[in-house]
Every structure is written in C-alpha cells, then in structure tokens.
C-alpha cells in the first residue's frame, strides 16, 4: 500500500497561543459532554438518587413536620434536592480525572504542548455544564410536590446552579489532581460530600443547630448556594408569613440576614478560589 508522503512533511503552521488555548478549553469541555451523553446509566442514576431523597425525606418528613399555612416540608426540601443533584454530579464529574489517570488518557493531556490551566478550566467547565443539566432536569419534578415554577424562577435557578457547579467541580478537580487512586477519591468524597450536603441547609433548616455545628455550616460554601436557590424558588410560591417563619430560606451571619447578592458573592469567591486551586493542582500533577 502506498500513501502520498508529502503532506506529512509539513510541520503545523504556528497558531496564535490564545486561540490554541481557547480551542483546548472547548475540546476538553466537549469531551465531558460527549462522555456524559454516552453513559446513559450515569444520567439515570444521577436522576434516581435525588428522587429517592425527595420521596423519602419529602413525604416521610412532611407527615412529621406537618403543614404550615398550606406549605409543607416537600416544598421546602425541593430546592435542596435540586442543589444536591448539582453537587453530586459536579463532584462525580471531577472524578473522571482520577478515571483518566487510571486509563492513561490524563497522560495524553499532560504531555501535550498546552497550558495545564486550559485543561483545568475545560474540565471544570465541562463538569459544571453536566451538573447544571442534571440539576435543571430535576425541575420536571416540581409539579409532583406542588412547587410552582415561572420562567424567571427557572432562569434564576440555572444561574445559581452554574455558579455553585463551577465552584464544586473546580473543588473536585483540585482534589482529584492530588489523588492517584480511584479508591482514595471515593473515600475523600464520602468524607467531604455528605457532610457538605447535610450541613448546607439543603435537607433541613439550619436554625436551632448547636453552636459548633453552626460554625461548620457557615464555613460550608454550599450553604451560601442553597439559600439563594431556595429564595428564588420560594419567590414564586404562595407563602404566608407563618410559613416563611417556619421554613426559613436565608442565612444569618454575625446576626445579620444575608441578602441574596451577598450569598452569591460568597459562592463566587469560593468559585474563584477553587478554580485557582484546580489550576495549581493540575499544573503540579505528573
């Protein structure tokens, strides 16, 4: 078999570096989406777990907590379940770095003449996109628990999801860049993921916690993402004052009730920090 040899001899024309890095980010991002779409079981399990929580917690606790002015625990926990879905998907998207290391593809990326920052950013963007898709998919369950949605609410939810997904995927990428084995990642994530979820206000109101737990909830980045998510969803519900008092949606810090803008600024600050850590982590990886 004979193949014309000449085209192989021309070295690639130099391409502007910024364009090259942007193309790298897009490609790494695209790969995450391709892999997400191709592994349908992952989408399914990502959907089933939050539904279970919604059913178990929502219906189980509703009986215990009871209704306040027509508002029940199911409606309270719904935004929390959406947050939970985003967080879980974001963290487990970051896991794919450990997976890539195990199966060698990480090496293909790390030896390339490209900036590690682009790989970290592409990976974070890809994981975050997938997490937002998964979290937004949860909104179809809203009618089931009697939560009313408007276009404004959906857009608001997506925006907040994007912010929290970026922070958490970057956090996951940072952790994954430091971890060599699949098993250790699972352990670390169980030790981080569940406490983070439980101490964020996603699954129960944070008022009335003992002092030391209260400190932990305020150190938890997720706390400041769950609160705005809940406020945006609640804004479209018919909630009398009694229900608002019973089911609080705002974070109090040093005796002040934080406005939604402050919450989001805190999440954004965490996102910037974690993206920086992710870039640094991946840059040091061999």
């Amino acid at each position: 078999m004979s193949v014309d040899a000449t085209p192989m001899l021309r070295p690639p024309a130099a391409e502007s570096d910024l364009v090259g890095e942007l193309r790298t980010i897009r490609m790494v991002w695209e790969r995450e989406l391709i892999r997400f779409v191709r592994t349908r079981t992952r989408i399914l399990t990502g959907f089933i777990q939050p539904i279970l929580f919604l059913l178990v917690l929502g219906y189980g606790m509703s009986g215990l907590v009871g209704e306040t002015a027509g508002f029940d625990f199911k409606k309270f926990v719904f935004p929390g379940i959406v947050a939970m879905s985003v967080v879980t998907t974001a963290i487990f998207s970051a896991i794919s770095i450990v997976w890539d290391r195990e199966f060698g593809f990480l090496r293909e990326m790390l030896v390339a003449p490209t900036s590690r920052a682009s790989i970290a950013i592409g990976k974070t963007a890809g994981g975050a996109t997938v997490a937002v898709l998964q979290g937004t998919l949860m909104l179809v369950l809203a009618p089931l628990v009697g939560v009313h949605l408007t276009v404004g609410v959906v857009l608001g939810v997506i925006g907040i999801e994007l912010l929290m997904a970026t922070a958490l995927t970057a956090f996951g990428v940072f952790v994954a860049s430091r971890i060599e084995k699949m098993e250790s990642f699972q352990v670390v994530m169980q030790l981080v993921l569940f406490p983070m979820l439980f101490l964020s206000g996603a699954l129960f109101p944070l008022n009335g916690l003992p002092g030391w737990l209260n400190v932990l909830t305020h150190l938890n980045p997720l706390t400041y993402a769950v609160a705005p998510l809940r406020q945006v969803v609640f804004s479209a519900q018919d909630m009398p004052a009694a229900a608002r008092a019973r089911f609080p949606s705002q974070v109090e810090l040093f005796g002040h009730v934080l406005p939604i803008g402050a919450d989001l600024a805190i999440v954004a600050a965490f996102a910037v920090l974690f993206v920086a850590l992710a870039i640094r982590g991946l840059s040091r990886t061999r």
Partner: protein
Amino acid sequence: MAALGQAATTVATASRAGRVAVIEVRDLVKRFGDFAAVDDIDFTVEEGEVFAFLGPNGAGKSTTISMLCTLVAPTSGRISVAGHDVVTEPREVRRRIGLVFQESTLDDQLTAEENLRFHAVLYRVPSEEVEARIDRVLALVDLGDRRGDLVSEFSGGMARRLEIARALLHVPRVLFLDEPTVGLDPQTRALMWEDVLRLRDEAGITVFLTTHYMDEAEYADRIAIIDHGRIVALDSPAALKGAIGADAVDLRTTDDGAAAAALRADGYKVESGADGIEVFVENGEDQVPALIEAAGVPVNHVHVHRPTLDDVFLHYTGREIREGGGDRPSAMMRARMGGRR
C-alpha cells in the same frame, strides 16, 4: 503548495546524507538517591534513522526515553531534541515529538476520530488541516474504515496502531515508541512494524524506540545496548553481530563450568548461558572437533550458528536478556522477519 514540495526535498536530502542530528545526548545522568538509573551516556540519532534502545527491564531505557520526552528532568547532562533543549524549552520539544507509551493513553469511550480530533487541538493543528490529516494518518495505519468506531471496540493491536496514527497527527520530527509491541500477538507486531518502517521510508520520520525483544531490535538501523544505566555497545545490528566473531558454537557438556574454564584457558571467547556454553570462533563447523577436545569433559550437544543479537547481548552484558523478564516473539514472527530482509 510549492513550499510543500520543497520541504519534502530538503528533508529527503538530509536523511539520505544521514548527517542531520535530531537527538543529541551528552553526559546524561539520572540519579534517584544513590542509584544511578542512567549513568553518563552519550549518543546521537540522525534524521530518518530507526534507533533502538535494547536492554532488560530496569536497565534505564524508560528513564532515558522519559528524559528525551521532557517527562523526567535529568540530574545532569544535556539533551537536545529537534533542535531544542528538553530542560529549557520543553514545550518546543513536545510540539515536535510524537509519543506512544507502553500503556494505552486513548479514551476508549470516544471514537477513533474523536481521539484524533482531541489530539489535533492539544497539538495546535490548524483547524482547516485537521480533516485531511486524520484521513492520512488513519490510512497510514490501515484504520480508515474504523474512523467512527468507539475505541472500546478495538483490539489491542488496533488501539496501538491508532496511538501511532495519533502520534503522527501533528507531524513530529521524532516518533518515540516505548516498548511499542508489548502485549501484542506476533501478526499484529509484524503489521505494526510494517507501519513504522513505511513511515520512516515515506515520511522521513525519525523513530526512537525501546525494546527488550531481540527480534524487534533487528528492525533498527542502529542499536544501543543499555545495561545498568550505561551504553555497552552501539552500532548497526550487522556490525554488532560481526564484532563478536563469525560463528557461535553452542555446547552442552556434563560439566559446563569446567568446560568454560578449560576453553578460556586455551584462549577461546566463551560465554555461559542458561543451557550450556557458547563459544565464538571463525569457521565454526571446522572448529567443532578442536573445541570438543579443548573442553576436556564429555560433550552431549553441539550447535553451530551465525551470531544473533541474543549472542551480542550475552557477550556485552554477560547475561541473557530473557533473565530480565518478558516473553519472546514466536517462531512465526521470526519467519516473517526473515522474509523481510
């Protein structure tokens, strides 16, 4: 398009002259604590050459190739690849080399084409050229019809060839192959070598490979035998074999140790192998009676043959490479290789 032809001519001329150095290694040392994995080596690889690093596992092959590819920093010494220093300009070097590792680095949940596209972006191949190059590299390794298939459906050999295709996508000046045929069956191994040699012949690419298969090293233009971090011999396969004597005579005796000592005392070049001893002489057949007599102990078995690279390795290291581990290519592979030359 005129520049294209011109570039081709330049490279072809240079490789025919065989004087353009693509890899230059000077006083290279790599220490891990007190252990010198690579202990002061020097060599030069010329454009268009197939250059093999041959040695047992742990001899320093992988450490050396990792340093050449900018993945591991040398303790001391200088390495220049494709005109750039690996320590000060690693990115320039990486742009100009293709890497195929021992372990797969493909994403098996992507198709062949998607893996190639990903690589094209990482290596800054201009978008408008990507399509044509994918066609071309897939044709080179005979995978054109598997373009849209998931890599998870590929056999080990196909995946390895796809990796070679991918390593060529950005037109490297040097293709590095680290133990490229480990774990492949003999037919696939032979096919892969057909691909590699075609690349060298048609595209003028320099190939640097490591291997612990003697038969595989036979394909190389030059071989560096590495043992305990040092290069103990460096030459063409024919010259290496020629240097140790015209013929090799294998002897199995009732007491190999005594026979070896007696033959050495008589001035013969003797090596001890796993089963028997080996004597290197001119005109082996004629020498058999004299050797049997000189051995001084009863001889059970005599075999005269031309020296192989196994003999070369034994001669330079005092060991057989098989002791270093790894299986050997089958007789079928040998037959194919015999047909080739």
